[in-house]
């Protein structure tokens, strides 16, 4: 009977110790899960941050799905590892010993009860251990420091919010070509090679010779293999036009109005020379386009490529204080969605104000005759200015048509229809332009490969 009660007592003591160890393991697991969560969030933040910087050098799409994936992957991994990974019981018990100051009784008992059960001190150790467990205040073992963890998460979230200032997750720049979520800079850089993606342009590209014919009709001087055509001279113009055409267009407008020149071809060389210092519309300034021509060029904007023309016309309309608003034909707006429209209203308003101020200055400048003659002068100047705007659009159109012609994938291997001089000069122009750092790396290789594969017959 005594032996039985002793055994029962021993069993109870052992059970109490085992329960204590289980409780410690549960506390440790809770703490590890929380740590896994915090580390996962931290890793997700770092991943997204790294992705942002990688995007500078490697072109790839960042979508909401990718962001979600980058967020959930490390958090999920952290949580799964925290739950699934086995808990090192020995190390845990040793840590409990140190934290509660059991003087290594728990780890010693745990080890000897498993391996050396016949040790004479084991029973004594068990008794003392149970009395320690019962009497010792055990609250701060593996205590989860919620405040600290929350603080870390808040810091991460605040940092993430600041990061979103640089990364646009809204999908505003998402285009129909599937190229979405680009930053404004990336979108503008890459837009010139993205035109081919619109439906209308694809349809036109499928008709052999259509683009060539359009180009020749639109630019008779260049299509006649004029030796004056120097694509190299266009490089700065085109690149600058992509970025700075707001200010430079206004400058161009001023210069055009000031010169009051009806014959653009006579000023071709001067204009070309001055363009190397930052001017615009050098090579095509010799086209003394009539209003009909400009109208025909406007009609070419149906495929959505010619928003520059639209913009210039709208601006011209504003500058002439909307007098001719009712007379002008409605412009096609199909392509608005595919063009970068990052210009702010404020800048536009400033430009309009500048143009108005210039126009008002100029209306007084001629001053040689009556107010009617001044008004006529002003109207003619305004038309010239408007024409120059349209040239800007035509120039962009010309450039983009070339890109379409050369970059379209579905006519690879077919006859180009361009003369070898044109093709060579344009190839040189394009390859020289590739050195521009704003052109994405993978596009450079793609374009270079494309031109290198062209065989001259």
């Amino acid at each position: 009977m005594v032996n039985k009660s002793e055994k029962l007592s021993e069993g109870l003591l052992e059970y109490e110790i085992q329960q204590f160890i289980k409780e410690m393991i549960a506390k440790y697991r809770r703490k590890r899960i929380l740590k896994g969560l915090v580390l996962g969030i931290l890793s997700a933040f770092i991943l997204i941050f790294m992705t942002y910087f990688l995007r500078i050098y490697f072109t790839f799409q960042i979508s909401a799905v990718l962001i979600l994936f980058l967020m959930t992957l490390p958090i999920g991994i952290g949580l799964i590892l925290a739950v699934v990974l086995p808990i090192p019981v020995r190390e845990l018990i040793a840590a409990v010993d140190r934290k509660i100051e059991f003087e290594e009784m728990l780890i010693t008992y745990y080890e000897y009860s498993e391996q050396k059960g016949d040790n004479p001190y084991l029973q004594l150790l068990k008794n003392r251990l149970v009395s320690f467990i019962e009497n010792k205040e055990i609250t701060d073992v593996f205590k989860v420091n919620i405040h600290r963890e929350i603080r870390i998460i808040v810091i991460i979230l605040v940092s993430f919010i600041f990061l979103t200032i640089w990364i646009d997750f809204s999908g505003v720049y998402q285009t129909g070509s599937g190229r979405n979520n680009l930053s404004p800079v990336m979108n503008e850089e890459d837009s010139f090679v993205e035109y081919q993606s619109t439906e209308s342009s694809r349809e036109r590209l499928e008709q052999p010779g259509q683009v060539e014919e359009e180009f020749r009709r639109e630019f008779p001087e260049i299509s006649a293999s004029s030796p004056d055509f120097q694509p190299d001279n266009l490089s700065e113009v085109e690149v600058d036009d992509e970025f700075d055409w707001d200010e430079q267009e206004l400058e161009k407008g001023e210069s055009t109005i000031t010169e009051q020149s009806d014959d653009y071809s006579s000023e071709e060389r001067e204009s070309s020379e001055s363009s190397e210092e930052g001017g615009e519309y050098r090579d095509l300034s010799d086209e003394n386009q009539t209003e009909e021509e400009s109208e025909s060029s406007k009609n070419q904007t149906e495929d959505g490529i010619e928003e520059d023309s639209e913009r210039s016309e709208e601006r011209s309309e504003d500058s002439s204080q909307s007098d001719e608003e009712g007379e002008r034909p409605e412009q096609s707006r199909e392509g608005e969605g595919s063009r970068p429209t990052d210009r702010s209203d404020q800048n536009e308003q400033e430009e309009i104000d500048d143009t108005e101020r210039d126009s008002s200055d100029l209306s007084e400048e001629p001053g040689t005759g009556s107010s009617e003659s001044n008004r006529d002068d002003f109207q003619s100047l305004d038309q010239d200015y408007e024409g120059s705007r349209l040239k800007s659009g035509n120039e962009s159109n010309y450039y983009n048509r070339y890109v379409e012609e050369f970059m379209r994938p579905d006519i690879e291997g077919s006859e180009s229809g361009l003369s070898s001089e044109e093709m060579n000069s344009f190839r040189d122009f394009i390859i020289n332009s590739l050195e521009d750092e704003r052109i994405p790396a993978n596009y450079r290789d793609m374009v270079r490969d494309y031109f290198n594969k062209i065989i001259q017959e």
Partner: protein, 328 residues
């Protein structure tokens, strides 16, 4: 051995506490010294006491012999002391019938508690006579091996100041001491008490508390004290860290130590920790026990290099640095 019972362990622990109290009747202060001597005795180890003369070393050993009811002997080492003077010799005897024969005359080593005073004054040859006795608990004279009485302890003293005319103990012999204990000067109050006690006619009566059999039982029990693997590994880490070629993290070890502790040092460390746990009425070894005995266990096992000797580096400082650097 029969299974230990709670009351049995507590009984022996109480005996040891009483023995310490009995010693304290004679020896004033020096609690750490007394505890460490007790630990060494529980480990069946030898102790090297280092201290200037007049600090009560001989008195301590004498009192200890009385309290533990052990045969006590004292040997004063001098340069002309011969091995036979320690271990004994065969002398020619003549019987009543006129027959002559050799009879072995036991030396002072044949005791249970041997105090070797100024052990470094004897020649190496004489010192080496202690070697077998300390380690093997037996001696060999004229081809005959004789067992020493159990338990057997050697408590040797040496003067750290007078180095002239001394023969420093060889490393092999020093390693055989479980502990090297430093006997410090007494504190003010302790010295006052010493003077008050020893300058009167009243003699203190010291009783025997533990007999030899009980002591041997305790020694056996001490070896059974459980030690967790983590604690054992900590002791091993300390030993490894004391070796300059063992990848020690301590700069002072790398700079000033020529030889670190031997494996015997690790044995001493663990065994002493067990004895300390038992002495403190605990049933397992903790990190505290290891740290408490690391200095007396290792200070005589670390040999300084020339730079360390020339700079007057204290080995205790190196060991303290070691303990602070090795993580639990």
């Amino acid at each position: 051995m029969e299974e230990l019972k709670v009351n049995q362990v507590e009984e022996y622990s109480k005996l040891l506490t009483d023995a310490r109290k009995e010693i304290a009747k004679v020896i004033v202060g020096q609690q750490d010294l007394i505890e460490n001597v007790f630990i060494a005795i529980l480990c069946n180890g030898n102790v090297l006491l280092e201290g200037v003369p007049g600090l009560g070393k001989t008195l301590l050993v004498k009192t200890l012999g009385m309290v533990l009811d052990l045969d006590y002997s004292r040997i004063q080492f001098t340069p002309d002391l011969m091995p036979a003077d320690i271990i004994g010799t065969n002398i020619l005897m003549e019987s009543d019938e006129g027959r002559r024969y050799f009879e072995f005359k036991e030396g002072p080593i044949f005791a249970q508690l041997v105090l070797v005073d100024e052990v470094n004054r004897a020649t190496p040859k004489t010192q080496s006579a202690l070697l077998e006795a300390m380690q093997e608990r037996r001696i060999t004279v004229a081809g005959v091996t004789r067992q020493l009485k159990e338990p057997f302890f050697v408590l040797a003293t040496q003067n750290p100041l007078e180095m002239e005319g001394t023969y420093p103990l060889p490393e092999a012999q020093v390693d055989r001491f479980l502990f090297k204990l430093k006997v410090d000067y007494p504190e003010f109050d302790e010295l006052k008490e010493i003077v008050a006690r020893t300058t009167v006619n009243e003699l203190v009566d010291v009783n025997s508390i533990i007999d030899s059999d009980q002591l041997q039982k305790i020694q056996y029990m001490v070896r059974d004290v459980p030690v967790a693997t983590e604690v054992l590994e900590y002791a091993i880490k300390l030993i490894i860290a004391s070796q300059p070629e063992g990848g020690s993290e301590s700069d002072s070890v790398k700079k000033y130590v020529r030889y670190g502790s031997s494996p015997r040092g690790a044995q001493a460390l663990i065994l002493a920790a067990k004895a300390r746990a038992f002495l403190h009425n605990r049933y397992n070894v903790s990190y505290k026990d290891i740290k408490a005995v690391v200095l007396p266990s290792l200070r005589h096992r670390l040999l300084l290099n020339f730079e360390g000797e020339a700079s007057g580096i204290d080995v205790d400082n190196i060991i303290t640095d070691l303990v602070s650097q090795v993580e639990v």
